[in-house]
Symmetry: C2
Subunit: 193 residues, 2 copies
């Protein structure tokens, strides 16, 4: 807290009194969660979207290309250029999930994988996390295994060209963008850029 700011009471941790499902869908549930303020005693329902954790994969070839996927996205009713990713299975390890999604969506597999970071897609209204996995030395070695209704254009692009898209608004998926920006940050820290 800057010394120029007047003291204000810190925010309280509200008491979670329980939840009920308002809507069940194939990709998430919408809950109403009852909370009570510990000081004021007021009670209110807050809306929470509950989904499995997600994973996004930065996949780097030996010649410094990144694996990108382009697909029609129903949320925005438009095409979107992204990195591979998807929904984790129950109990699945993030790195295993990342390698699985990479292989199924693009046919690429690689030698070494590690975590780039983990975020909350939206802590205000959403309970799940999204994990970012870096896989290096990937090559196309497997058949594609798309889910029903998946149609994916797989591309590889030089890292510097992808980073230009990142800077210029060519990649708008917030989670893909986060993963690529974190990849760039760690790459700079390692002295490779």
């Amino acid at each position: 807290m800057s010394s120029s700011l007047p003291p204000v009471p810190g925010p309280s941790r509200w008491d979670n009194l329980g939840q009920h499902t308002q809507l069940h869908t194939r990709v998430f549930d919408v809950l109403g969660v009852r909370y009570r303020h510990p000081v004021r005693g007021t009670e209110r329902d807050f809306i929470v979207v509950q989904a499995p954790d997600w994973v996004n994969v930065v996949a780097l070839t030996t010649d410094q290309h990144l694996v990108l996927v382009r697909q029609f996205r129903f949320g925005i009713d438009a095409f979107s250029l992204e990195i591979p990713g998807g929904v984790m299975e129950a109990g699945e390890d993030p790195i295993a999930a990342g390698l699985r999604e990479l292989r199924e969506e693009t046919g690429f597999a690689g030698g070494s994988a590690r975590m780039l970071g983990t975020v909350h897609p939206n802590p205000a209204i959403q309970s799940n996390r999204c994990h970012f996995v870096l896989v290096e030395s990937v090559a196309r070695s497997h058949e594609l295994e798309w889910d029903a209704d998946e149609e994916i254009q797989v591309e590889t692009m030089p890292v510097e060209q992808v980073l230009t898209l990142v800077r210029n608004g060519g990649i708008t998926h917030a989670l893909a963008l986060n993963a690529l920006l974190l990849f760039n940050l760690h790459r700079q820290a390692a002295g490779r850029a």
Copy 2:
């Protein structure tokens, strides 16, 4: 497309046949949107979360501190360190919305504001956008105007310390992280880091 990849048919743009509301809440609606594949002719309902656009603000003081907010977040049932932000009003300009949210949440206001970028929080299932605004030369000049149930701890922190948190997982809100990483990228491009 890398020359090593076999040709695959490009993804189709599905035809949007109309939508119905499955759930209405205070913060978003959940729609079922009917789509038909233009080649296969199959029809299916896809789930879309429809919310107003959001705005997040990177606010920089003249002594190179960033304005952060810490609050209890009902989605993750935990505290989260973020940048100021909120829901845009209908027809509101992103920069005007960013300056309004900054002032209301933190009491800070500043001299010059510009866009850092715009993302889709989740193109797969969510239609809205989130805008990132940079406001420079901010100072605390206004009274706080919190919404009902808002309790916000306002902090200022040196830029380099915030970027250490960004690298180390101390800021997990995906959209706040995106804004700070884009701020860092543009700052580097401008030769100030």
